[in-house]
Symmetry: D2
Subunit: 92 residues, 4 copies
């Protein structure tokens, strides 16, 4: 079972919290709040998405690359290459 | 008038598109999609929030720091310090 | 006078400290140190270059965009566009 | 053998190229070049250090986490945890 299935309820809770942050941002724009407040809310969403990315990547490493229970070398290599593809787009 | 008011409909359209991406991510988690797909969707949201941040910051620079129509030195300095505060949390 | 001229000795001190970090990284590779140590040293250099970038950008905003002493609108707009060009490559 | 030992000459070539970029930046500051040029050179060094980080992390994943030749579960878990520690500081 993949970690995104195992951790489903925790991840959904995070995603719903972020949807709430997006709605707050939408309301702030509608209410014509000052741009300092808007920037602050955008930065909060960005922090949340980075936190989610870090959490999912971490569990990806543990479950699909490092887990001693993985018995297929090919499956482990696939997990590693998926990780590397994400790192390449991220670190630049 | 602040740029987040002037550009309100454009910014709201962006924010709603991102809310749609968040809903797609929620559905993918619910449907227990593979983690490579989940990571891909998270990366898409991250790209969108960074794009929004860049756009709002750009207009902040133009409207609250550089605009020749700003007549108060204090207002211009405030716009600059707000920008610098965001840059400090961003570039590290 | 540009801020990179005014702050020249402070900026040179930072750059020389970073050159020292690069030499330490080169020595660690030569000495075949463990990769955890190498990664740690690379992260240190990355932190230093981001710190330098943030400092120079901050002074750029203050000196070439926000300074009330700027008398030419065109000069102020040029300073703003240079800043925006850097932000665009940075925030993505 | 660690990847930073196996790839030693390639990594040293990258580090020396970056040291050359640092010297160019030092000379530009000494020569009181314009701040747009200074910012451009800082961005080049930052791109180079990120590229080096991505390369070393990639090889870390392949060699210390995913390699089927790793026979000790504990060694594999250690490689994974070192990677996760770097990701945590990086993705935020």
């Amino acid at each position: 079972m993949s970690h995104t299935v195992r951790d489903k309820s925790k991840l959904l809770a995070r995603v719903r919290r972020m949807s709430g942050q997006m709605e707050a941002l939408e309301r702030a724009l509608q209410a014509e709040k000052g741009c300092a407040e808007i920037l602050h809310q955008i930065a909060a969403v960005r922090g949340a998405i980075n936190g989610l990315m870090a959490e999912v990547l971490e569990e990806h490493v543990r479950t699909h690359v490092a887990d001693p229970a993985i018995t297929s070398d090919a499956a482990r290599m696939l997990g590693a290459e998926e990780l590397i593809a994400v790192l390449r787009t991220y670190i630049k």
